[in-house]
Amino acid sequence: MPFPNVRLANRPLHFLYLCDCSGSMAAQGKMQALNQAIRQSLPGMTEVARQNPEARLLVRAVRFADQAHWHIAEPTPVEQLSWIDLEAGGVTAMGEALELVAAALQTPPMEERALPPVLVLISDGQPTDDFDRGLRTLLRQPWAQKAVRLAIALGHDADLEVLQQFIGQDPGGSGRSARRPLQAGNATSLAQYIQWASTAVVNAASMPASRMVPSAETAAPGPIPLPDLPPTVLDPTDDVGPLVW
């Protein structure tokens, strides 16, 4: 006499990584650190997907160097995802990557109804192609306008200005903000930000996160209120300077 075989209706939640694989990523183990960070984040992401029956979490990834390519082309349920390592080499075709994502966010192939997509752009350098054209193409797509756009800057050479353009308007104020590029100075903080984007942000986009009285940060306009950034955790290695690069 089981409960009827029905389940809560759900909507797809598209999560896309845009990963810089230019030659500079080969330096100081950055590429390996990014591969590790994404790999390590998958169990937590799977758990969040399970806890959000209203969302059907689907993951894709684009890599860009001399050109942009789909690294994971099929929207893949996170529990079926096995991360194939990215390899570094070439220049930084970030604009092309944005155009690739723009094509994927058209309807079709995008579903008629969905949750706000989450786009995470990770880069350690400056675009070498026509970034502005790529961004314009992307932002012409309604799903890209509705998307939660996050950016992680690796190391000190990342072009914070283009990453900010990708995210949207700078929220102003000082201190860390999810609406500004997240600056990962070492492997630990990179892993923390990837973890945060793939769990806390996914959770907020698919919904059940509990709401607090809005702060300046969460009240900023956007498709969803963004969760708190991960705490600055004191790492035993903090005092020795950057660990990987």
Binding site: M1, V6, A9, G44, E112, A114, K146, A191, V233
Partner: protein, 443 residues
């Protein structure tokens, strides 16, 4: 995940004479992280707050201390046991610039699973267990509200179920406060928040709890959302402004008797269409009360006591379809058909008590409140349970779960005793006499 407490190490707390050993991490969210710990050989859970959460919620320590002093409203809350601050020497072991604080609670037993597992359709669970879970939920909120407290942030995320029994555990009790005392910093979880809270016109309290409770009961009973029908289908991107319209500015109950414009879609919202007809009118009426007039008028929402009563009566009405075995809840004295296979329902034996009537169907139980109108409904101490004969499932019996012998009056006038834990075939019985009162068999 980066854990702020050192796994495997021991910490000294101001409030405890014994050190606390951090065994392993159990999980983390935006508020804090939870660890399995050991204190004096006892296994407990410790929730430790993140600095951002503490900064936003200056009243947190005050609320937790008050809850700890007051103790849990009933057994279904995973309630805070002790507030803990690290000693000066242990502070250095905590991997945050601001060491903060946490609280101890019991560990959640492994056989309690997140309510989202049920709503996602991943759990084998009976309708009886789901209705019992809803009853326990209403009962827990009843106990909480009677103490003048409110929960503020109930959602699927802080409810756990034991699928076999329908027993529940309510976690994350750190927003509990005296109703109306302090605006607090939590607003609730979208989808469960009352419209007036979502729109910023009111802060969460007992009245908004009643709305959230109804949403949660609705979700458990239907695996669907009470406000998501045609209006949701018209939304392409379900983002923050869309949720605000759906749940705050322009909400409409999908089964509003007066306005059918937000009915569930036959393809997208099948769960609601299949499950809603299962339940009796009394129960549906409480949803209509809360989600129609009560949507805008918080004082009209169904109260915890009404839920408790309607859910316990629904459980009393439960019977099994002889054709397909499914659990059905027909209106009393109504013939009706099975919601699952459409077969006409056969007449069943009924047990008449001083305060209620219970269908003689396997696993239905008689409770003290069936005998005494002054007792509150409770499912925790059944006096009798209906059981099918192990060799012939068509023979219904009643098992004496009390500690005293009962006397059984048969149709032919003979009287036989029924010892505790024994079961008696109901077919030849006219009446059972128990210390709590009489049980008359109706045919």
């Amino acid at each position: 995940m980066t854990w702020i407490l050192p796994l495997g190490e021991t910490l000294q707390m101001e409030e405890l004479s014994s050190p606390i050993r951090i065994l392993r991490a159990l999980g983390g969210g935006t508020q804090g992280q939870v660890f399995a710990v050991e204190v004096d050989g006892e296994a407990l859970a410790l929730k430790w707050y993140l600095p951002a959460c503490l900064a936003r919620d200056p009243q947190l320590a005050r609320r937790l201390s008050a809850s700890i002093r007051a103790t849990a409203p009933n057994q279904d809350f995973l309630w805070p046991i002790a507030l803990l601050h690290p000693t000066a020497t242990s502070r250095a072991q905590i991997r945050c610039r601001d060491a903060g604080f946490g609280y101890l609670m019991d560990l959640r037993p492994a056989d309690y699973v997140g309510a989202h597992e049920h709503v996602a359709g991943r759990l084998e669970i009976s309708l009886r267990s789901v209705l019992r879970a809803c009853f326990f939920l209403a009962d827990a909120f009843h106990a909480l509200h009677l103490r003048g407290l409110c929960y503020k942030d109930i959602s699927l995320g802080n409810l756990f179920l034991q699928p076999g029994s329908g027993r529940i555990l309510i976690c994350d009790n750190d927003n509990v406060d005296v109703d109306g005392r302090d605006p607090g910093s939590v607003l609730g979880t979208p989808g469960f928040m009352a419209p007036e809270v979502l729109l910023g016109q009111a802060r969460p309290g007992a009245d908004s709890d009643l709305f959230s409770l109804a949403v949660l009961i609705f979700r458990l009973l239907t695996r669907h959302d009470p406000l998501r029908g045609q209006r949701e289908l018209a939304i392409r991107c379900l983002d923050e402004p869309a949720r605000r319209r759906l749940y705050g500015e322009d909400p409409l109950f999908i089964f509003d008797p007066a306005d059918p414009s937000n009915r569930p879609d036959p393809i997208e919202h099948t769960a609601a269409l299949i499950t809603w007809p299962i339940y009796p009118e009394r129960l549906k009426g409480l949803f209509e009360q809360t989600f129609c007039r009560g949507l805008r008028q918080p004082s009209l929402r169904a109260l915890t006591g009404q839920w408790r009563r309607a859910l316990s009566i629904t459980l009393d009405q439960r019977q099994l379809c002889r054709a397909c075995g499914q659990e059905v809840f027909p209106e009393p004295q109504c013939a009706g058909t099975c919601w699952s296979c459409g077969s006409p329902l056969q007449p069943v034996l009924r047990l008449q008590l001083a305060h209620g009537e219970v269908i003689a169907a396997p696993d239905n139980e008689l409770h003290p409140h069936h005998f005494d109108a002054l007792l509150p409904e409770s499912l925790l101490t059944p006096l009798a349970r209906v059981e099918a004969h192990p060799g012939d499932a068509t023979i219904m019996g009643v098992r004496n779960l009390s500690t005293e012998p009962w006397s059984v009056e048969l149709l032919d006038g003979a009287v036989v005793p029924l010892q505790p834990q024994k079961t008696c075939n109901l077919a030849p019985v006219r009446r059972l006499t128990t210390p709590a009162g009489a049980i008359t068999v109706l045919r």
